[in-house]
Amino acid sequence: MSVPVVAADRVSKWYGQVIGLNDITVDVRPGVTGLLGPNGAGKSTFLKLITGQLKPSKGTIRVLGEPIWGNPGLYRRLGFCPEQDSFYERMTGLQWVTALVRLNGLSDTAATEAARQALDTVGLLDAADKKIGAYSKGMRQRVKLAQAVVHDPDVLVLDEPLAGMDPIARRKVIRLIKGWGREGKSVLVSSHILHEIESMTSTILLINNGRILAEGNIHQIRDLIDEHPHTVKIRADDPRRLAHAFIEHDGVRSLTFEEGAVVVETGKPDAFYGQLTQIAASGELGEVHEVSSPDDDLQAVFEYLVK
């Protein structure tokens, strides 16, 4: 029997008077699919509906052909990495992932082994016995990924998995997600950064104001995106030295400084991210701690698209 991974049929979700999602009908097919939209667009609401945390106010959501709300058995085949940075801080990464996968019915021994493997997959095995409270932001993101994949699910739902990661960790996770897609898992990954989504997949769902604006190939909107400057905020040991290196990059349109960070506006985000990753990997200009992209530029693109 062949079914879409996720089938949403005229789904709406209200929070009191506020509309979270508005009459969405979409089928998500196997492979890696990017859910792209600015903050507040409805991405997290959509993912919470898909993962059965919320119930649609109207319409139906089916995952692997079954309704997900009130169907806990389906979570054997579904892994979810939430956006929120929340943990049992006193547990070690290994204890936490083990405890969660035990809920899938694994024995203690099998759960520990599966947790070790998952932590190894996301590059956290060395820190497995450290308390999560002592993890860096990037490590916390990766341990969330580990709990999502620990039971080897068919469908992975990842809500902003790259948020707050440094460039090297970001590259590793992108590689992992692409790898899971190649292995045959269905991955639905959300982001408000086009470049991130583009580096993982060419299949995207564009969402804004609770509606799916477009679905399909990323290249169709890529040209539109390129007309708008892309803003990147880089928190680093020495933002001024980094800025000096960026000035020579021909895509950079402006540079501004904030406390411990430099904010770059670029017209060539691909090339810029490539250069940034090289700089971070070499370590010559000090450590790069965090890369983030305010969604003002993406918002501008969405405004352009819905004109």
Binding site: S2, G73, P82, Q84, S186
Partner: protein
């Protein structure tokens, strides 16, 4: 650019459609939650609540050792002798059954799900193949274990500190300790189930619970009529005399407090408490299964 390797995925199998075993899931949730509960921010509060009687017992023991308390007095011209077992009985009634047990029940019971929602960790439990009811029940078991692990040793400490005072005898009073421990466990279980229901039902469960234990129960229990049957303490009262000395000051005080009201028999008490436990937990489970938990962004 990655290309999907499959054009479709198999539909959910019958294995995935089968709900996992409730008790097994609850046990695993219990295992995960016990440590979190014992080391939660409420632990300090719990230590204070159950540490109070121990401190009182130590002070009392010091006073008796220093001959500052004799245990003898006069009431209405009659000589009254208060010994260790009587004081222990009063402490069980006053400190534990009327204060510590309802307080722990309200603070932990109403927070069974609320803590996970507030900490935004509920997502990890609700996206695993366990029913939401099993999550609640597992956390309820963890509440029982964690409060029991703290309350019962506190009672035993108080017993060994207080009962030998003023001529009391540990050996002959030991069976009453066992009864008291069982009674307190029942109290924790019943109050926990009731407040788990209030936690699943009301928007401000803590306030509702505090009004129940400090407003509704004390007032209704002393008012003649049937309303007292809508309290937990009424049914616990029915079991208390079996755990406490039948003669002396305690029985005098109890008879004044009970103001000629007929206490429920032990059988009625057990049935009443059992009903509150089963209905409370059952309804709480039913509500949690159907409720949406929207986390603050």
């Amino acid at each position: 650019m990655s290309t999907p390797t499959r054009s479709s995925v198999p539909a959910a199998t019958s294995e995935s459609a089968v709900a996992p075993a409730f008790l097994s899931s609850a046990w695993r949730i219990y295992d995960l939650s016990l440590g979190q509960m014992l080391w939660s921010r409420r632990t300090v509060f719990m230590a204070f609540v159950v540490g109070g009687p121990v401190v009182v017992a130590v002070i009392l023991r010091l006073l008796v050792t220093m001959d500052l308390v004799s245990g003898r007095g006069m009431v209405d011209g009659r000589p009254i002798i208060v010994d260790g077992p009587i004081i222990f009985g009063l402490m069980i009634w006053g400190f534990y059954l009327r204060l510590s047990v309802p307080l722990l029940g309200v603070f932990y019971g109403t927070a069974l799900m609320a803590d996970e929602v507030e900490d935004k960790t509920i997502t990890y439990l609700f996206t695993r193949p366990v029913s939401r009811g099993a999550v609640l029940f597992g956390k309820y078991l963890a509440y029982l274990a964690s409060t029991g692990l703290v309350v019962l040793p506190s009672v035993m400490l108080v017993f060994f500190l207080v009962v030998p005072l003023l001529g009391g005898d540990i050996g002959s009073n030991f069976p009453s300790l066992v009864t008291d421990l069982a009674l307190l466990t029942v109290g924790l279980a019943v109050y926990g189930a009731l407040f788990a229901l209030i936690g699943a039902w009301f928007k401000r469960p803590l306030l509702t619970g505090l009004v129940f234990i400090f407003g509704w129960e004390p007032i209704v229990v002393v008012v003649p009529g049937y309303m007292k049957r809508l309290t937990v303490s009424y049914y616990l009262q029915g079991l208390v005399p079996h755990a406490m000395p039948q003669e002396g000051l305690v029985s005098t005080i109890l008879s004044i407090l009970q103001a000629n009201e007929v206490l429920p028999s032990a059988a009625v008490s057990v049935i009443g408490l059992g009903l509150i436990l089963v209905v409370g937990l059952g309804l709480a489970t039913w509500l949690v299964e159907r409720r949406e938990y929207v986390l603050e962004q």
